[in-house]
């Protein structure tokens, strides 16, 4: 299975990267952009007997290492290998 983990700065955390990208988009004429947040995308391949178990394991990985709960939020999806082709 593959866990696709997305880590983003918490809304209360100042995100200077996001602000700078937002300014860049505005200067390119994308005036409709009201906010940009820059985060991380992490793919974790893992063996698990069930999707339920995989979810529990990936949740623990995020809590313990992949995200810092002081400054970041996370969410993820589990995909079964072979279901999607690259």
């Amino acid at each position: 299975m593959i866990a696709k983990v997305i880590v983003t700065p918490k809304p209360v955390v100042n995100d200077p990267q996001g602000n700078t990208v937002k300014q860049g988009l505005a200067s390119l004429g994308f005036r409709e952009v009201s906010d940009v947040r820059v985060g991380k995308y992490i793919e974790v391949s893992l063996d698990a007997p069930s999707e339920h178990e995989a979810r529990q394991r990936v949740e623990a990985m995020c809590q313990q290492l992949l995200a810092n709960h002081v400054i970041e939020d996370f969410h993820f999806e589990i995909e079964h290998e072979g279901r999607h082709q690259r």
């Binding site: 700065p9 955390v13 100042n14 200077p16 990267q17 700078t20 810092n68 002081v70 400054i71």
Partner: protein, 234 residues
């Protein structure tokens, strides 16, 4: 007294800290490798600046799992002096030995410059040689030194007097203009509640000899030596 300077792959200020300990202060020095299983009888452990494990994922995120860090945690729990400088501060936050986190500078720039620091606490083992509310001049060198904590943690830090250093101007005014990185409350350094674990972004080891343009950093090293000596006598 004996200082231990911790070295991770990617640490780069270890020799600077070691130099101050054995060449400037004439104290005992040992380097502690990240795989070491004990702290070799050190009285104070320094986590120096650099990019431990390349700062992969987040600053300090991987370093906290180094075998030696378990011993550092136990040492801190026993009241041992643990001093994180720059990347060391980031590692102590990731390890949960200090609250909060260090995030990207508000300017997005790597800042390498002199800063003025207001010493909020001079009753700690690290600051006893500083005068009350003294302004010291210490350089910073970091891209991710903006201190962040949630409002509840921040007010707890303030209530407990855990803020040790704040960025200020030369006259000791803590202003937004004197803040080089966007740190909340201009925080440059904090201690744990017990006062034995210090984390700070500025580099005292880089201003401990006149040749480097200042010696204010030496006051912190001397404070540690003095407090250890006092502990031995009492």
């Amino acid at each position: 007294m004996k200082f231990g300077v911790l070295v991770f792959p990617g640490t780069w200020s270890d020799r600077d800290c070691g130099w101050v300990v054995d060449q400037v202060l004439g104290e005992q020095l040992t380097y502690l490798w990240h795989k070491d299983a004990d702290l070799k009888g050190c009285d104070c452990v320094i986590l120096p600046g650099g990019f431990a494990y390349g700062d992969y994922l987040r600053t300090g995120a991987i370093a906290r799992f180094a075998p030696v860090m378990e011993k550092v945690g136990e040492f801190a729990d026993r009241g041992g002096l643990v001093w994180g400088i720059c990347n060391g501060f980031q590692i102590l936050c990731e390890a949960g030995l200090l609250p909060g986190a260090l995030i990207r500078n508000a300017s997005l720039e790597f800042r390498c410059q002199w800063t003025n620091l207001m010493v909020d606490r001079n009753d700690l083992p690290y600051t006893s040689q500083c005068a009350e509310r003294e302004v010291i001049r210490v350089p910073i060198s970091h891209g991710e030194g903006s201190y962040f904590a949630d409002p509840a943690t921040l007010s707890r830090l303030e209530q407990n007097g855990q803020v040790v250093f704040r960025y200020c101007d030369a006259d000791g005014r803590v202003t937004p203009g004197a803040n080089p990185n966007g740190s909340l409350h201009n925080i440059a350094g904090i201690v744990n509640k017990r006062g034995n674990v210090l984390g700070m972004m500025p580099h005292p080891e880089r201003c401990s000899e006149p040749e480097l343009g200042g010696t204010d950093g030496l006051k912190l090293f001397r404070s540690v030596v003095e407090s250890a000596t006092r502990a031995l006598v009492s």
